[in-house]
Symmetry: C2
Subunit: 329 residues, 2 copies
């Protein structure tokens, strides 16, 4: 019997709060353009008060990827922690409306951890600078995992943002055991937060032990994780450790390495880049959706590039166009 889901993801369950700003605003608030930082409740309140009128949409990196996979016709499931509050209800609604299986019970808002949000500032050059107040999202625990769902999914996809805090990291490690026990493939998307000292060692040990079958990373993260100074060297180091390595390079396209071979794809053309939020998430969605159908690396890369091009041509990180007919899997 084929597994119930093509892909099940564990990631931040977050509502995006998107506003435009100029470069001076980023500078005044000490926010490096294109970066992601974690904010505590007070810092988030201060930044929110200073930023412009916003638009809210459900977000979260791996959650965006699952939304994309469902939009492409894939069978996607998501595990992430929201609180029992208005933003949590919005997140749950959007997942279900998109056809993503989402069954993680919410936590009590009285615990003081409301549903997480990400304050996203988009500059006129379409770059997004993300400021995440994770809230409930980092309270995901191993006890909440639906292990039967994980065992019944062809690919387990893990989001690096959750590798930082101890509780969800432990949950992800348990999920890896469950998935490997059921002979499933484990995919992991790096984030800078995985690559900082302390966490880096644990992560490198895990990939050395064969914990990850498929690793997504951008150029910057590959360099940070390996500590190498050239991209070529860093790719050589990493691809010796993971069966499949996928490196995204923004406007320069993407590359994949497996079994000693490398494949490269150019970025798909976009009429006007409006907002790069979600580019990496939708790239991963396209790659994984194609992989779940058994396509080769070139087709997986191409599908990822097509999905990423759709998402950066409009505001927000959830697909608007008919992705299913765009990618034709």
């Amino acid at each position: 019997m084929p597994p119930r889901f093509d892909i099940i993801a564990i990631g931040d369950a977050i509502v995006d709060v998107i506003a435009t700003c100029d470069d001076a605003f980023l500078a005044a608030h000490g926010l490096p353009k294109g970066s992601m930082q974690l904010l505590d409740t007070e810092a988030a309140a201060r930044l929110y008060a200073a930023m412009g009128s916003a638009q809210e949409t459900s977000g979260g990196s791996a959650a965006n990827s699952m939304a994309g996979i469902a939009a492409m016709g894939g069978r996607a499931a998501f595990i992430g922690q929201v609180a029992d509050d208005q933003l949590g209800a919005i997140f749950r609604h959007d997942m279900e409306a998109l056809g993503v299986d989402f069954d993680t019970p919410p936590i009590d808002p009285a615990l003081g951890k409301p549903t997480g949000r990400c304050l996203i500032l988009v500059t006129p050059d379409a770059q997004r600078t993300m400021n995440t107040c994770p809230g409930a999202s980092h309270e995901l625990g191993g006890a909440t995992l639906d292990e039967a769902r994980i065992a019944d999914s062809a690919i387990l996809y893990l989001e690096g943002y959750l590798w930082g805090p101890e509780k969800p990291r432990a949950a992800m490690l348990r999920a890896i055991e469950v998935a490997h026990g059921a002979s499933r493939e484990i995919a992991f998307t790096l984030s800078e937060s995985v690559c900082i000292a302390g966490r880096r060692e644990g992560f490198n040990r895990m990939i050395a032990d064969g914990g990850i079958d498929l690793l997504f990373a951008n150029e910057h993260e590959v360099l940070q994780l390996t500590g190498d100074s050239s991209l070529g060297q860093a790719i050589a180091t990493l691809s010796a450790k993971v069966p499949t390595l996928v490196v995204t390079r923004g406007a320069d396209g993407a590359m994949a390495f497996a079994n000693g071979e490398g494949v490269e794809v150019a970025a798909a053309p976009v009429e006007r880049v409006v907002d790069t939020t979600g580019a990496g998430d939708l790239f991963a969605a396209g790659f994984l959706a194609a992989r779940a159908r058994g396509h080769d690396l070139a087709r997986c890369l191409h599908t990822g590039a097509t999905a990423a091009a759709e998402i950066i041509s409009h505001f927000g990180a959830r697909p608007e166009a008919d992705l299913k007919s765009l990618v034709q899997l």
Copy 2:
């Protein structure tokens, strides 16, 4: 000394939840296209569960108008009731971020009246069908009114949607007394809910008593309020009762009548109509912003048409383009 605000509005304080749908969805849920209906909590939950993935932005008819006036450089204030919850915080943030003075204290969410929301379904022909769950919004009471602010605003603008429920209607009647006592102008925007039997008589009595100086209505509402069968007759009936009558006609433009004279303007050209949500709100915003600067009817109509054209060229009811330089007041 000039008044502190050009315009102060009383209206629904609501967060819009916008999703696309097809005509069959509207038919299946018995929703007449282009209409507005009030939903109780259960009906709203049912419709929300059935509708697609959504985008949230602050809304409310008169609140949208005040956002537009601030974007055009006018001094705008807003009075409306939210609850002390996440959607209420979003509404407040967006008002303040747009430069609209908003000082109405929130009500306790334990009262069971959360911040109101409007489920807006946009069909491929850009028509919006609105399903409002008013929540806290209809709990606005006279005691909450900041009468000093009302007296210190050149124009008091009242939203017809609040004429239905008794509590906010009483608050609006008190606000009219305060504004007239300070020799301010009273503007009112009709909504179908003002025009239904029972409410219609009270409203007609109020305008007969000189309660309204400036009335906004669309063609449909003018016919409903007067009970006349031809638009010409209805306009003649109404314009005899209010010093200034403004009638909006969608793609056919708008007309204004004052002192026995009529002025007409065509709709401003739009490359592609994406979503008509907010067209009437932004029309009123442009008209009022120009009027507060002492412009004549033709200029007021023209400014309204320009602002309406901006809002229907994108998703959502809050301005995105630089309205200030568009209207050049």
